[in-house]
Amino acid sequence: MKSKLAIASFVLGLVSFVQLFGLEKAVLAVVFGAISLKEITDGQQLNGKKYAYAAIILGSAYILIILILAVVKGPEMFKLLGKMRG
């Protein structure tokens, strides 16, 4: 039997790319992926390890992309904020 949690987290990982702020979905994908992976490796009854890995990779990839964008866009925003303050 495939782990439902693994599949759910995989779907979350995919969906996080489709709408804006996928951040919460991506975080959930990573967390659920990790939990389901633990479940799969502990009990011998479940399959779907690949889904769990895919979920973790997708979620992480999304988070990394956003982080890079934030790093690129950040300075500009903060510069303006600083001006506003001063």
Partner: protein, 177 residues
């Protein structure tokens, strides 16, 4: 003891799984009741018949296959352990990154509200955040692009407000206003 009750107990009687008192009762009953006696005979015969079924011998490869499966399973667990190690090393990264992004977002949303002397700017920022939170308002399908949009619009609002405040032309030169 009536026949109905006796018949129910015959199975346990056959297995010798009852107390002495009950056992004697049934024995007595079997002596006098031919119907139950017949039933007992059938059950007894049935058990012997079942026992005639041949037992099967494990095939010679049974052990071999079993130990092979054990070896496979053990090599699998080794693989799992490696995967687990990688995961343990990797998992903090996305968690930390998302934490940083979260702080970044909170900061960028809250600070104009704190610093903004201009109510209009605050309102615009609030509206931008509202827009951001509703998926139906998103224009780009590939969500990271929406994040870029958010940053750009955010800059624009700040730039505008800055211009209004100081009355100068755009200093950053990006919003073209």
């Amino acid at each position: 003891m009536n026949c109905k009750k006796a018949k129910k107990l015959l199975s346990a009687y056959l297995d010798g799984e009852m107390n002495e008192h009950c056992r004697q009762d049934i024995s007595e009953h079997l002596k006098i009741c031919s119907d139950c006696n017949k039933e007992y005979g059938i059950l007894f015969h049935q058990d012997t018949y079942l026992k005639q079924h041949d037992s099967i011998e494990p095939s010679p490869v049974f052990r071999q296959n079993f130990w092979r499966k054990i070896r496979d399973a053990e090599s699998n667990t080794v693989k799992n352990k490696i995967a687990e190690k990688i995961l343990r090393w990797w998992l903090p990264a996305p968690v930390f990154c998302s934490f940083v992004i979260f702080i970044f977002l909170i900061f960028s949303v809250v600070s104009p509200l704190l610093y903004g002397q201009n109510i209009k700017t605050s309102e615009k920022i609030v509206q931008l955040v509202k827009k951001m939170c509703l998926p139906s308002n998103q224009q780009k399908i590939f969500s990271p692009l929406n994040f870029t949009d958010f940053c750009d619009e955010y800059c624009q609002i700040l730039c505008e407000s800055h211009q209004q405040k100081s009355g100068s032309i755009s200093e950053c030169g990006r919003c073209k206003k």
